[in-house]
Symmetry: none
Subunit: 267 residues, 2 copies
DNA sequence: TCCGGTTTTGCACGTTTATGCAAATTACGG
DNA sequence: CCGTAATTTGCATAAACGTGCAAAACCGGA
Protein backbone atom coordinates (compact mmCIF):
# COMPACT_ATOMS: atom_id res chain seq x y z
CA UNK A 1 0.00 0.00 0.00
CA UNK A 2 2.49 2.57 1.15
CA UNK A 3 5.32 0.97 -0.70
CA UNK A 4 6.46 3.62 -3.11
CA UNK A 5 7.74 1.29 -5.74
CA UNK A 6 6.64 -2.22 -6.48
CA UNK A 7 8.87 -4.75 -8.11
CA UNK A 8 7.35 -5.74 -11.44
CA UNK A 9 7.06 -9.34 -10.45
CA UNK A 10 5.59 -8.37 -7.12
CA UNK A 11 2.98 -6.33 -8.89
CA UNK A 12 1.97 -9.23 -11.08
CA UNK A 13 1.83 -11.42 -8.05
CA UNK A 14 -0.53 -9.01 -6.31
CA UNK A 15 -2.75 -8.82 -9.33
CA UNK A 16 -2.83 -12.58 -9.39
CA UNK A 17 -3.77 -12.60 -5.72
CA UNK A 18 -6.78 -10.40 -6.39
CA UNK A 19 -7.75 -12.53 -9.34
CA UNK A 20 -7.38 -15.76 -7.44
CA UNK A 21 -10.06 -14.79 -5.00
CA UNK A 22 -12.52 -14.28 -7.77
CA UNK A 23 -12.44 -10.52 -8.16
CA UNK A 24 -12.19 -8.99 -11.62
CA UNK A 25 -9.58 -6.29 -12.13
CA UNK A 26 -9.69 -3.11 -14.13
CA UNK A 27 -6.61 -1.89 -15.93
CA UNK A 28 -7.32 1.71 -14.98
CA UNK A 29 -7.68 0.96 -11.28
CA UNK A 30 -4.53 -1.12 -11.17
CA UNK A 31 -2.63 1.64 -12.91
CA UNK A 32 -3.45 4.06 -10.11
CA UNK A 33 -2.96 1.44 -7.45
CA UNK A 34 0.58 0.72 -8.56
CA UNK A 35 1.40 4.16 -9.94
CA UNK A 36 2.31 2.98 -13.39
CA UNK A 37 0.80 3.62 -16.78
CA UNK A 38 -2.04 1.52 -18.03
CA UNK A 39 0.29 0.22 -20.66
CA UNK A 40 2.41 -1.51 -18.09
CA UNK A 41 -0.67 -3.03 -16.48
CA UNK A 42 -1.99 -4.21 -19.78
CA UNK A 43 1.33 -5.83 -20.52
CA UNK A 44 1.15 -7.57 -17.16
CA UNK A 45 -2.35 -8.82 -17.78
CA UNK A 46 -1.41 -9.99 -21.23
CA UNK A 47 1.50 -11.88 -19.77
CA UNK A 48 -0.62 -13.51 -17.10
CA UNK A 49 -3.24 -14.37 -19.65
CA UNK A 50 -0.61 -15.98 -21.83
CA UNK A 51 0.20 -18.27 -18.93
CA UNK A 52 -3.45 -19.05 -18.51
CA UNK A 53 -3.66 -17.37 -15.12
CA UNK A 54 -6.45 -15.01 -16.07
CA UNK A 55 -8.70 -14.07 -18.90
CA UNK A 56 -7.98 -10.81 -20.62
CA UNK A 57 -11.07 -8.80 -21.45
CA UNK A 58 -11.85 -5.33 -22.62
CA UNK A 59 -11.09 -3.01 -19.72
CA UNK A 60 -9.16 -5.40 -17.55
CA UNK A 61 -9.10 -9.08 -16.76
CA UNK A 62 -11.25 -11.77 -15.19
CA UNK A 63 -10.17 -14.64 -12.99
CA UNK A 64 -9.98 -17.88 -14.82
CA UNK A 65 -13.04 -20.06 -14.38
CA UNK A 66 -12.98 -20.99 -10.68
CA UNK A 67 -13.23 -24.72 -11.07
CA UNK A 68 -10.89 -24.92 -14.03
CA UNK A 69 -7.73 -23.36 -12.71
CA UNK A 70 -6.42 -24.61 -9.40
CA UNK A 71 -6.41 -28.34 -8.84
CA UNK A 72 -9.51 -29.33 -10.67
CA UNK A 73 -8.34 -32.89 -10.96
CA UNK A 74 -8.93 -33.38 -7.30
CA UNK A 75 -12.50 -34.18 -6.32
CA UNK A 76 -13.57 -31.66 -8.92
CA UNK A 77 -17.25 -32.39 -9.04
CA UNK A 78 -17.95 -31.96 -5.38
CA UNK A 79 -15.69 -29.00 -5.11
CA UNK A 80 -17.32 -27.04 -7.89
CA UNK A 81 -20.74 -27.59 -6.38
CA UNK A 82 -19.51 -26.22 -3.10
CA UNK A 83 -17.85 -23.36 -4.88
CA UNK A 84 -21.19 -22.47 -6.36
CA UNK A 85 -22.73 -22.47 -2.90
CA UNK A 86 -19.95 -20.28 -1.57
CA UNK A 87 -20.34 -17.86 -4.44
CA UNK A 88 -23.97 -17.38 -3.54
CA UNK A 89 -23.14 -17.06 0.14
CA UNK A 90 -20.77 -14.21 -0.61
CA UNK A 91 -23.76 -12.05 -1.43
CA UNK A 92 -24.82 -12.17 2.20
CA UNK A 93 -21.75 -10.27 3.32
CA UNK A 94 -21.71 -6.58 4.05
CA UNK A 95 -18.74 -4.29 4.68
CA UNK A 96 -17.22 -4.27 8.17
CA UNK A 97 -19.22 -7.23 9.36
CA UNK A 98 -17.98 -9.76 11.83
CA UNK A 99 -18.67 -13.29 10.66
CA UNK A 100 -18.13 -16.69 12.20
CA UNK A 101 -16.96 -19.48 9.94
CA UNK A 102 -17.53 -22.91 11.36
CA UNK A 103 -15.67 -26.06 10.42
CA UNK A 104 -16.55 -27.79 7.17
CA UNK A 105 -15.21 -27.95 3.66
CA UNK A 106 -17.80 -25.60 2.24
CA UNK A 107 -16.91 -22.95 4.75
CA UNK A 108 -13.25 -23.43 3.95
CA UNK A 109 -13.99 -22.74 0.31
CA UNK A 110 -15.97 -19.70 1.30
CA UNK A 111 -12.96 -18.47 3.23
CA UNK A 112 -10.73 -18.74 0.18
CA UNK A 113 -13.20 -16.72 -1.81
CA UNK A 114 -13.73 -13.93 0.68
CA UNK A 115 -13.10 -10.52 -0.86
CA UNK A 116 -10.39 -8.40 0.68
CA UNK A 117 -12.10 -5.08 0.29
CA UNK A 118 -14.95 -5.54 2.75
CA UNK A 119 -12.89 -4.99 5.88
CA UNK A 120 -14.30 -8.14 7.42
CA UNK A 121 -13.55 -9.61 10.79
CA UNK A 122 -13.58 -13.38 10.73
CA UNK A 123 -13.73 -15.66 13.74
CA UNK A 124 -13.29 -19.36 13.21
CA UNK A 125 -12.61 -22.69 14.82
CA UNK A 126 -11.63 -24.32 11.55
CA UNK A 127 -8.01 -25.05 10.80
CA UNK A 128 -8.42 -24.88 7.01
CA UNK A 129 -10.17 -21.54 7.32
CA UNK A 130 -7.30 -20.23 9.38
CA UNK A 131 -4.82 -21.51 6.84
CA UNK A 132 -6.72 -19.81 4.04
CA UNK A 133 -7.03 -16.45 5.74
CA UNK A 134 -4.01 -16.04 7.92
CA UNK A 135 -2.01 -14.01 5.50
CA UNK A 136 -4.75 -12.18 3.78
CA UNK A 137 -4.51 -8.44 4.17
CA UNK A 138 -7.85 -6.76 4.68
CA UNK A 139 -9.25 -9.47 6.89
CA UNK A 140 -8.93 -9.57 10.65
CA UNK A 141 -8.76 -13.14 11.78
CA UNK A 142 -9.42 -14.59 15.21
CA UNK A 143 -9.34 -18.16 16.34
CA UNK A 144 -11.08 -19.96 19.13
CA UNK A 145 -8.89 -21.93 21.48
CA UNK A 146 -9.25 -25.39 22.86
CA UNK A 147 -9.02 -29.00 21.94
CA UNK A 148 -8.52 -29.70 18.26
CA UNK A 149 -10.57 -32.71 17.41
CA UNK A 150 -9.61 -34.58 14.31
CA UNK A 151 -13.14 -35.41 13.32
CA UNK A 152 -14.44 -31.91 12.87
CA UNK A 153 -11.18 -30.39 11.67
CA UNK A 154 -11.17 -27.63 14.22
CA UNK A 155 -11.46 -26.60 17.82
CA UNK A 156 -14.23 -27.99 19.94
CA UNK A 157 -14.90 -28.54 23.58
CA UNK A 158 -15.43 -26.38 26.61
CA UNK A 159 -12.80 -23.81 25.90
CA UNK A 160 -13.98 -23.21 22.36
CA UNK A 161 -17.49 -22.72 23.68
CA UNK A 162 -16.44 -20.26 26.33
CA UNK A 163 -14.18 -18.42 23.90
CA UNK A 164 -17.24 -17.89 21.76
CA UNK A 165 -18.61 -15.53 24.38
CA UNK A 166 -15.84 -13.11 23.58
CA UNK A 167 -17.37 -12.30 20.23
CA UNK A 168 -20.56 -11.03 18.69
CA UNK A 169 -21.25 -11.97 15.10
CA UNK A 170 -23.32 -10.29 12.46
CA UNK A 171 -23.51 -13.55 10.63
CA UNK A 172 -22.53 -17.11 11.46
CA UNK A 173 -21.97 -19.77 8.82
CA UNK A 174 -22.62 -23.07 10.52
CA UNK A 175 -21.05 -26.13 9.04
CA UNK A 176 -23.97 -28.34 8.35
CA UNK A 177 -23.51 -32.03 8.72
CA UNK A 178 -27.11 -32.62 7.97
CA UNK A 179 -30.38 -30.77 7.63
CA UNK A 180 -33.96 -31.96 7.73
CA UNK A 181 -37.21 -30.00 7.91
CA UNK A 182 -38.39 -31.30 11.27
CA UNK A 183 -35.18 -31.46 13.25
CA UNK A 184 -33.16 -28.71 11.58
CA UNK A 185 -29.38 -28.92 11.73
CA UNK A 186 -27.88 -32.03 13.27
CA UNK A 187 -24.27 -33.10 13.78
CA UNK A 188 -22.13 -36.18 14.29
CA UNK A 189 -20.18 -34.97 17.21
CA UNK A 190 -21.55 -33.70 20.49
CA UNK A 191 -18.79 -31.25 21.22
CA UNK A 192 -19.03 -29.94 17.70
CA UNK A 193 -22.77 -29.39 18.13
CA UNK A 194 -22.08 -27.51 21.33
CA UNK A 195 -19.78 -25.11 19.53
CA UNK A 196 -22.33 -24.53 16.80
CA UNK A 197 -25.03 -23.72 19.34
CA UNK A 198 -22.69 -21.28 21.05
CA UNK A 199 -21.97 -19.59 17.73
CA UNK A 200 -25.67 -19.29 17.05
CA UNK A 201 -26.27 -17.75 20.47
CA UNK A 202 -23.82 -14.98 19.72
CA UNK A 203 -24.84 -14.18 16.19
CA UNK A 204 -27.46 -11.84 14.78
CA UNK A 205 -28.11 -14.00 11.78
CA UNK A 206 -27.42 -17.62 10.99
CA UNK A 207 -26.62 -19.06 7.60
CA UNK A 208 -26.10 -22.63 6.46
CA UNK A 209 -24.84 -23.92 3.15
CA UNK A 210 -25.94 -27.40 2.16
CA UNK A 211 -25.38 -29.67 -0.77
CA UNK A 212 -28.38 -31.79 -1.63
CA UNK A 213 -26.82 -34.93 -0.22
CA UNK A 214 -27.01 -33.40 3.22
CA UNK A 215 -30.72 -32.83 3.03
CA UNK A 216 -33.03 -35.17 4.83
CA UNK A 217 -30.66 -37.14 7.01
CA UNK A 218 -30.76 -36.91 10.78
CA UNK A 219 -27.70 -37.25 12.96
CA UNK A 220 -27.51 -37.89 16.70
CA UNK A 221 -26.84 -34.37 17.98
CA UNK A 222 -29.40 -31.64 17.52
CA UNK A 223 -27.93 -28.22 16.84
CA UNK A 224 -30.67 -25.84 15.81
CA UNK A 225 -34.27 -26.10 14.63
CA UNK A 226 -35.16 -24.75 11.22
CA UNK A 227 -36.86 -21.73 12.72
CA UNK A 228 -33.61 -20.26 13.90
CA UNK A 229 -31.96 -20.33 10.52
CA UNK A 230 -32.05 -17.06 8.65
CA UNK A 231 -30.36 -17.98 5.39
CA UNK A 232 -30.36 -21.34 3.70
CA UNK A 233 -27.99 -21.58 0.77
CA UNK A 234 -28.66 -24.65 -1.28
CA UNK A 235 -28.35 -26.11 -4.72
CA UNK A 236 -31.25 -26.12 -7.10
CA UNK A 237 -34.47 -27.92 -6.34
CA UNK A 238 -33.73 -31.32 -4.89
CA UNK A 239 -35.73 -34.25 -6.07
CA UNK A 240 -35.87 -36.13 -2.79
CA UNK A 241 -36.28 -33.16 -0.53
CA UNK A 242 -38.13 -30.26 -2.11
CA UNK A 243 -36.74 -27.03 -0.81
CA UNK A 244 -40.13 -25.62 0.11
CA UNK A 245 -40.21 -28.00 3.01
CA UNK A 246 -37.44 -25.92 4.52
CA UNK A 247 -39.25 -22.64 4.16
CA UNK A 248 -40.09 -21.05 7.49
CA UNK A 249 -41.63 -17.74 8.45
CA UNK A 250 -38.41 -15.85 8.61
CA UNK A 251 -35.80 -17.54 6.54
CA UNK A 252 -34.55 -16.80 3.11
CA UNK A 253 -33.66 -19.57 0.71
CA UNK A 254 -30.95 -18.90 -1.84
CA UNK A 255 -30.08 -21.41 -4.52
CA UNK A 256 -27.27 -21.69 -7.00
CA UNK A 257 -29.83 -22.13 -9.74
CA UNK A 258 -31.70 -18.86 -9.72
CA UNK A 259 -28.67 -16.69 -9.21
CA UNK A 260 -27.32 -15.46 -12.49
CA UNK A 261 -23.59 -15.43 -12.88
CA UNK A 262 -23.21 -11.71 -13.22
CA UNK A 263 -19.63 -11.62 -12.13
CA UNK A 264 -19.20 -8.17 -13.58
CA UNK A 265 -18.00 -5.23 -11.62
CA UNK A 266 -20.28 -2.38 -10.76
CA UNK A 267 -19.12 1.08 -11.50
CA UNK B 1 22.37 2.06 10.05
CA UNK B 2 24.96 2.41 12.73
CA UNK B 3 27.36 -0.28 11.71
CA UNK B 4 29.72 1.14 9.16
CA UNK B 5 30.71 -2.15 7.63
CA UNK B 6 28.83 -5.40 7.61
CA UNK B 7 30.36 -8.81 7.23
CA UNK B 8 29.08 -10.39 4.02
CA UNK B 9 27.42 -13.22 5.86
CA UNK B 10 25.91 -10.80 8.31
CA UNK B 11 24.51 -8.80 5.46
CA UNK B 12 22.92 -11.84 3.86
CA UNK B 13 21.46 -12.77 7.19
CA UNK B 14 19.88 -9.34 7.52
CA UNK B 15 18.47 -9.56 4.05
CA UNK B 16 17.05 -12.93 4.89
CA UNK B 17 15.53 -11.46 8.01
CA UNK B 18 13.65 -8.87 5.99
CA UNK B 19 12.55 -11.51 3.53
CA UNK B 20 11.37 -13.90 6.19
CA UNK B 21 9.17 -11.14 7.50
CA UNK B 22 7.34 -11.34 4.22
CA UNK B 23 8.66 -8.10 2.78
CA UNK B 24 10.11 -7.94 -0.70
CA UNK B 25 13.52 -6.33 -1.09
CA UNK B 26 14.87 -4.06 -3.77
CA UNK B 27 18.46 -4.37 -4.86
CA UNK B 28 18.86 -0.63 -5.08
CA UNK B 29 17.58 -0.01 -1.55
CA UNK B 30 19.76 -2.70 -0.06
CA UNK B 31 22.76 -1.26 -1.83
CA UNK B 32 22.44 2.05 -0.04
CA UNK B 33 21.38 0.39 3.18
CA UNK B 34 24.62 -1.59 3.36
CA UNK B 35 26.78 0.86 1.45
CA UNK B 36 27.86 -1.59 -1.18
CA UNK B 37 27.32 -1.71 -4.90
CA UNK B 38 24.22 -3.22 -6.35
CA UNK B 39 26.41 -5.89 -7.84
CA UNK B 40 27.28 -7.22 -4.43
CA UNK B 41 23.63 -7.24 -3.43
CA UNK B 42 22.65 -9.02 -6.59
CA UNK B 43 25.26 -11.62 -5.89
CA UNK B 44 23.83 -12.08 -2.42
CA UNK B 45 20.31 -12.42 -3.70
CA UNK B 46 21.40 -14.87 -6.33
CA UNK B 47 23.11 -16.93 -3.69
CA UNK B 48 20.10 -16.92 -1.40
CA UNK B 49 17.85 -17.79 -4.30
CA UNK B 50 20.09 -20.72 -5.15
CA UNK B 51 19.46 -22.07 -1.67
CA UNK B 52 15.76 -21.59 -2.13
CA UNK B 53 15.56 -18.91 0.52
CA UNK B 54 14.05 -16.31 -1.73
CA UNK B 55 12.89 -15.77 -5.25
CA UNK B 56 15.06 -13.59 -7.41
CA UNK B 57 13.11 -11.23 -9.60
CA UNK B 58 13.85 -8.25 -11.74
CA UNK B 59 14.69 -5.42 -9.38
CA UNK B 60 15.26 -7.40 -6.23
CA UNK B 61 13.86 -10.49 -4.58
CA UNK B 62 10.63 -11.78 -3.11
CA UNK B 63 10.15 -14.00 -0.07
CA UNK B 64 9.39 -17.56 -0.91
CA UNK B 65 5.77 -17.60 -1.89
CA UNK B 66 3.66 -18.77 1.04
CA UNK B 67 1.41 -20.58 -1.38
CA UNK B 68 4.32 -22.49 -2.84
CA UNK B 69 5.53 -23.42 0.59
CA UNK B 70 3.02 -26.09 1.58
CA UNK B 71 3.76 -29.17 3.42
CA UNK B 72 5.88 -31.20 1.08
CA UNK B 73 6.56 -29.53 -2.22
CA UNK B 74 9.53 -27.43 -1.25
CA UNK B 75 12.42 -29.73 -1.97
CA UNK B 76 14.94 -27.06 -1.11
CA UNK B 77 17.96 -27.97 0.89
CA UNK B 78 16.71 -25.57 3.47
CA UNK B 79 13.97 -28.01 4.23
CA UNK B 80 16.32 -30.92 4.56
CA UNK B 81 18.49 -28.93 6.93
CA UNK B 82 15.48 -28.20 9.06
CA UNK B 83 14.44 -31.80 8.86
CA UNK B 84 17.80 -32.76 10.27
CA UNK B 85 17.27 -30.37 13.14
CA UNK B 86 13.84 -31.79 13.79
CA UNK B 87 15.18 -35.32 13.75
CA UNK B 88 17.61 -34.44 16.50
CA UNK B 89 14.94 -32.61 18.44
CA UNK B 90 12.79 -35.74 18.45
CA UNK B 91 15.27 -37.34 20.84
CA UNK B 92 14.25 -34.84 23.51
CA UNK B 93 10.75 -36.22 23.69
CA UNK B 94 9.59 -38.65 26.34
CA UNK B 95 6.34 -40.61 26.52
CA UNK B 96 3.26 -38.85 27.84
CA UNK B 97 4.87 -35.45 27.84
CA UNK B 98 3.06 -32.22 27.16
CA UNK B 99 4.96 -30.06 24.68
CA UNK B 100 4.38 -26.61 23.29
CA UNK B 101 5.14 -26.03 19.61
CA UNK B 102 5.56 -22.41 18.70
CA UNK B 103 5.15 -20.89 15.26
CA UNK B 104 7.95 -21.34 12.75
CA UNK B 105 8.70 -23.59 9.82
CA UNK B 106 11.12 -25.77 11.73
CA UNK B 107 8.53 -26.47 14.39
CA UNK B 108 6.02 -27.27 11.68
CA UNK B 109 8.42 -29.86 10.31
CA UNK B 110 8.91 -31.24 13.78
CA UNK B 111 5.16 -31.59 14.09
CA UNK B 112 4.99 -33.64 10.92
CA UNK B 113 7.69 -35.92 12.23
CA UNK B 114 6.23 -36.48 15.69
CA UNK B 115 5.81 -40.16 16.48
CA UNK B 116 2.32 -41.38 17.20
CA UNK B 117 3.27 -43.87 19.85
CA UNK B 118 4.46 -41.53 22.58
CA UNK B 119 1.03 -40.47 23.72
CA UNK B 120 2.01 -36.84 23.50
CA UNK B 121 -0.08 -33.82 24.27
CA UNK B 122 0.73 -30.92 21.98
CA UNK B 123 -0.28 -27.33 22.50
CA UNK B 124 0.36 -24.85 19.73
CA UNK B 125 -0.37 -21.43 18.33
CA UNK B 126 0.86 -22.33 14.87
CA UNK B 127 -1.59 -22.91 12.08
CA UNK B 128 0.68 -25.24 10.11
CA UNK B 129 1.32 -27.30 13.23
CA UNK B 130 -2.40 -27.63 13.75
CA UNK B 131 -2.85 -28.66 10.15
CA UNK B 132 -0.17 -31.28 10.48
CA UNK B 133 -1.45 -32.78 13.70
CA UNK B 134 -5.18 -32.36 13.67
CA UNK B 135 -6.00 -35.80 12.43
CA UNK B 136 -3.15 -37.69 13.90
CA UNK B 137 -4.25 -40.43 16.23
CA UNK B 138 -2.11 -40.79 19.30
CA UNK B 139 -1.59 -37.08 19.76
CA UNK B 140 -3.84 -34.84 21.78
CA UNK B 141 -3.85 -31.41 20.23
CA UNK B 142 -4.81 -28.10 21.79
CA UNK B 143 -4.77 -24.65 20.28
CA UNK B 144 -4.43 -21.24 21.78
CA UNK B 145 -7.07 -18.73 20.83
CA UNK B 146 -6.82 -15.14 19.80
CA UNK B 147 -5.81 -12.94 16.95
CA UNK B 148 -4.16 -14.70 14.04
CA UNK B 149 -1.43 -12.49 12.69
CA UNK B 150 -0.24 -13.25 9.22
CA UNK B 151 3.35 -12.42 10.00
CA UNK B 152 3.98 -15.09 12.57
CA UNK B 153 1.63 -17.62 11.05
CA UNK B 154 -0.26 -18.22 14.22
CA UNK B 155 -2.08 -16.81 17.19
CA UNK B 156 -0.63 -13.91 19.09
CA UNK B 157 -1.88 -11.17 21.32
CA UNK B 158 -3.44 -10.93 24.74
CA UNK B 159 -5.77 -13.87 24.46
CA UNK B 160 -3.06 -16.22 23.31
CA UNK B 161 -0.93 -15.13 26.24
CA UNK B 162 -3.69 -15.64 28.77
CA UNK B 163 -4.64 -18.96 27.22
CA UNK B 164 -1.12 -20.08 27.86
CA UNK B 165 -1.83 -20.06 31.59
CA UNK B 166 -4.19 -22.95 31.09
CA UNK B 167 -1.34 -25.31 30.37
CA UNK B 168 1.84 -26.62 31.89
CA UNK B 169 4.48 -27.91 29.51
CA UNK B 170 7.24 -30.39 30.04
CA UNK B 171 9.02 -28.94 27.05
CA UNK B 172 8.49 -25.88 24.90
CA UNK B 173 9.96 -25.51 21.41
CA UNK B 174 10.25 -21.82 20.80
CA UNK B 175 10.33 -20.65 17.21
CA UNK B 176 13.57 -18.81 17.02
CA UNK B 177 13.71 -15.85 14.74
CA UNK B 178 17.24 -15.13 15.79
CA UNK B 179 19.76 -16.13 18.41
CA UNK B 180 22.90 -14.46 19.62
CA UNK B 181 25.09 -15.23 22.64
CA UNK B 182 24.60 -11.95 24.49
CA UNK B 183 20.93 -11.25 23.88
CA UNK B 184 19.58 -14.77 23.50
CA UNK B 185 16.41 -15.27 21.50
CA UNK B 186 14.99 -12.22 19.74
CA UNK B 187 11.92 -11.80 17.54
CA UNK B 188 10.52 -9.52 14.88
CA UNK B 189 7.14 -9.05 16.35
CA UNK B 190 6.35 -7.77 19.82
CA UNK B 191 3.17 -9.77 20.27
CA UNK B 192 4.93 -12.85 19.07
CA UNK B 193 7.69 -12.31 21.61
CA UNK B 194 5.09 -11.96 24.32
CA UNK B 195 3.62 -15.33 23.47
CA UNK B 196 7.04 -16.95 23.50
CA UNK B 197 7.80 -15.55 26.94
CA UNK B 198 4.47 -16.82 28.22
CA UNK B 199 5.26 -20.26 26.87
CA UNK B 200 8.62 -20.20 28.59
CA UNK B 201 7.02 -19.23 31.89
CA UNK B 202 4.82 -22.28 31.82
CA UNK B 203 7.36 -24.83 30.73
CA UNK B 204 9.78 -26.98 32.66
CA UNK B 205 12.33 -27.01 29.90
CA UNK B 206 12.90 -24.80 26.89
CA UNK B 207 14.30 -25.90 23.55
CA UNK B 208 15.18 -23.93 20.44
CA UNK B 209 16.13 -25.17 17.00
CA UNK B 210 18.25 -22.88 14.88
CA UNK B 211 19.75 -23.02 11.43
CA UNK B 212 23.11 -21.29 11.21
CA UNK B 213 21.73 -18.34 9.33
CA UNK B 214 19.77 -17.42 12.41
CA UNK B 215 22.83 -17.25 14.58
CA UNK B 216 24.31 -13.91 15.43
CA UNK B 217 21.61 -11.52 14.32
CA UNK B 218 19.68 -9.44 16.80
CA UNK B 219 16.09 -8.44 16.29
CA UNK B 220 14.08 -5.73 18.06
CA UNK B 221 12.16 -7.79 20.60
CA UNK B 222 13.98 -9.68 23.33
CA UNK B 223 12.41 -13.00 24.21
CA UNK B 224 14.74 -14.93 26.49
CA UNK B 225 18.39 -14.75 27.52
CA UNK B 226 20.65 -17.69 26.75
CA UNK B 227 20.65 -18.76 30.37
CA UNK B 228 17.03 -19.80 30.28
CA UNK B 229 17.44 -22.11 27.33
CA UNK B 230 17.84 -25.76 28.24
CA UNK B 231 18.32 -27.34 24.83
CA UNK B 232 19.89 -25.78 21.78
CA UNK B 233 19.51 -27.82 18.62
CA UNK B 234 21.77 -26.55 15.89
CA UNK B 235 23.58 -27.56 12.78
CA UNK B 236 27.25 -28.40 12.86
CA UNK B 237 29.87 -25.91 13.92
CA UNK B 238 29.18 -22.58 12.30
CA UNK B 239 32.08 -20.64 10.88
CA UNK B 240 30.97 -17.19 11.85
CA UNK B 241 29.39 -18.04 15.14
CA UNK B 242 31.14 -20.89 16.92
CA UNK B 243 28.66 -22.86 18.93
CA UNK B 244 30.70 -22.75 22.11
CA UNK B 245 29.75 -19.12 22.46
CA UNK B 246 26.26 -20.37 23.18
CA UNK B 247 27.29 -22.74 25.91
CA UNK B 248 25.94 -21.81 29.32
CA UNK B 249 26.04 -23.50 32.69
CA UNK B 250 22.88 -25.45 32.26
CA UNK B 251 22.15 -25.92 28.63
CA UNK B 252 22.73 -28.84 26.38
CA UNK B 253 23.84 -28.30 22.81
CA UNK B 254 22.79 -30.87 20.23
CA UNK B 255 23.99 -30.71 16.66
CA UNK B 256 23.00 -32.50 13.51
CA UNK B 257 26.67 -33.40 13.06
CA UNK B 258 27.22 -35.52 16.15
CA UNK B 259 23.83 -36.74 17.06
CA UNK B 260 25.09 -38.22 20.29
CA UNK B 261 24.23 -36.54 23.52
CA UNK B 262 27.82 -35.72 24.21
CA UNK B 263 26.88 -32.25 25.15
CA UNK B 264 27.10 -31.15 28.74
CA UNK B 265 29.86 -28.72 29.52
CA UNK B 266 33.24 -28.03 28.10
CA UNK B 267 35.78 -30.58 29.17
C1' DT C 1 55.61 -11.41 10.43
C1' DC C 2 55.25 -12.87 5.74
C1' DC C 3 53.06 -15.48 1.98
C1' DG C 4 49.90 -18.13 -1.06
C1' DG C 5 45.09 -19.13 -1.75
C1' DT C 6 40.43 -17.86 -1.36
C1' DT C 7 36.61 -14.67 -1.11
C1' DT C 8 34.66 -10.41 -1.90
C1' DT C 9 34.17 -6.34 -4.19
C1' DG C 10 33.69 -2.73 -7.74
C1' DC C 11 33.80 -1.65 -12.48
C1' DA C 12 33.25 -2.13 -17.57
C1' DC C 13 30.79 -4.19 -21.19
C1' DG C 14 27.13 -6.05 -23.85
C1' DT C 15 22.45 -7.94 -23.16
C1' DT C 16 17.87 -8.27 -21.41
C1' DT C 17 13.75 -6.25 -19.31
C1' DA C 18 10.57 -2.61 -18.11
C1' DT C 19 8.37 1.57 -19.06
C1' DG C 20 6.04 5.47 -21.26
C1' DC C 21 4.67 7.75 -25.34
C1' DA C 22 2.66 8.15 -30.01
C1' DA C 23 0.38 6.25 -33.84
C1' DA C 24 -2.43 2.82 -35.80
C1' DT C 25 -6.01 -0.51 -34.77
C1' DT C 26 -9.81 -2.67 -32.62
C1' DA C 27 -13.85 -3.20 -29.52
C1' DC C 28 -17.91 -1.32 -27.40
C1' DG C 29 -22.25 1.33 -26.85
C1' DG C 30 -25.69 3.86 -28.80
C1' DC D 1 -22.72 3.52 -38.55
C1' DC D 2 -20.14 6.63 -35.67
C1' DG D 3 -17.48 8.26 -31.72
C1' DT D 4 -15.10 7.15 -27.66
C1' DA D 5 -12.29 4.37 -25.04
C1' DA D 6 -9.34 0.56 -24.76
C1' DT D 7 -5.82 -1.94 -27.14
C1' DT D 8 -1.90 -3.18 -29.90
C1' DT D 9 2.36 -2.14 -31.90
C1' DG D 10 6.73 0.09 -32.53
C1' DC D 11 10.18 2.70 -30.61
C1' DA D 12 13.32 5.20 -27.50
C1' DT D 13 15.04 5.56 -22.93
C1' DA D 14 16.30 3.96 -18.67
C1' DA D 15 17.09 0.58 -15.39
C1' DA D 16 18.66 -3.95 -14.09
C1' DC D 17 21.20 -8.05 -15.33
C1' DG D 18 25.16 -11.41 -16.04
C1' DT D 19 29.90 -11.93 -17.00
C1' DG D 20 34.68 -11.35 -16.93
C1' DC D 21 38.42 -9.21 -14.67
C1' DA D 22 41.55 -7.06 -11.57
C1' DA D 23 42.25 -4.94 -7.10
C1' DA D 24 41.51 -5.43 -2.26
C1' DA D 25 40.45 -7.83 1.92
C1' DC D 26 40.64 -11.92 4.42
C1' DC D 27 42.35 -16.39 6.24
C1' DG D 28 45.37 -19.99 7.60
C1' DG D 29 49.86 -21.74 7.90
C1' DA D 30 54.69 -21.23 7.99
Amino acid sequence: MSSVSYLPEQRRSEILAILSRGEPVSAAELAVRFSVSEDAIRRDLRKLAAEGLCEKVYGGALPVSPSAQPYSSRAGEDRSRKEALATVALTLLMPRQCVFLDVGSTNALLAEMLPSNLDLTVVTNSVPVMAALMDRPGISLFALGGSVGGQAGGMTGAQAVSDMERYRFDLAFLGTCSLCPETGVTAFDGDDAEVKRAAARNSEKIAVMVTTDKLGARLPHKVLPMEQIDYLVSEGEAAQQPLHLYQTQNNQILTTANVDTNSVKEK
